[in-house]
């Protein structure tokens, strides 16, 4: 097996693993049970997004996706910091009163 073919198969396997990881994080976002749990799962999803943007370099052959990985790595952090500030100040209720009786 040549190196290029091995790389293609590895990219496919890694893609399947990353999709499974994204599904796990999405289930945690749906389940909660509290707002910080959801924000942690969002953080995890943005990290998976960085990895997927990296994989796109191999699959598509275009190196522009490295810039996308760099951008997602920076922006995901801002979202989490903003949510943390809102939760700490009480602007977002951590125990989600909207579905409480």
């Amino acid at each position: 097996m040549s190196g290029a073919a091995a790389l293609e198969i590895a990219a496919m396997v890694a893609g399947v693993l990353l999709v499974a990881a994204a599904i796990c994080a999405a289930v945690r976002i749906v389940r909660g049970p509290s707002t910080p749990d959801r924000v942690v799962a969002l953080d995890m999803l943005s990290l998976i997004g960085v990895a997927v943007a990296g994989l796109a370099v191999i699959v598509s052959g275009s190196t522009a996706f490295v810039d996308i990985a760099l951008g997602v790595a920076l922006v995901g952090f801002l979202a989490v910091v903003a949510f943390a500030g809102f939760i700490e100040r009480g602007a977002i209720r951590a125990d989600e009163s909207e579905d409480a009786p």
Partner: protein, 131 residues
């Protein structure tokens, strides 16, 4: 040879990402989930990026990947720290089997109106010793 090393890092990093996501899904309380996401998640994404660097070797990509890894290592721990503090202050319940809370009395905690039951609250290892 570089292709093989790149393939190894791609699969290894994706597997670490999957382990981190399973941790986010399965760990019993918020603070453990945060550790899984911030430690194993950064390791997984960083390893996948390093694999890209081996698979498509050029100086430009290497610099961008080094930058992306640096930003991940700098920013995700800060985000995790802030989020953990916010969760503690908001009053996210600890797992039932937690032995000690070093922050009690240091930070004030809110109280949830509605009790949140963490998965695994029933399995308290401390209680077997007491029985």
């Amino acid at each position: 040879m570089m292709d093989w090393i790149g393939a190894f890092f791609l699969v290894f990093g994706a597997a670490v990402c999957l382990v981190a996501a399973i941790g986010v899904l399965r760990f019993p309380d918020f603070f453990m989930r945060m550790h899984a996401a911030t430690k194993a998640g950064v390791a997984g994404a960083g390893l996948v990026l390093i694999g890209i660097g081996f698979a498509a070797p050029s100086l430009e990509i290497a610099i961008k990947i080094a930058l992306a890894n640096l930003f991940l290592l700098l920013t995700i721990p800060v985000a995790g720290h802030l989020l953990g503090r916010a969760g503690y202050v908001a009053g996210v319940p600890l797992w039932g089997a937690t032995q000690r809370d070093e922050l009690s009395g240091v930070l004030s905690r809110g109280v949830f109106d509605r009790p949140v039951k963490n998965a695994g609250d029933a399995a308290k290892p401390g209680q077997h010793a007491a029985d």
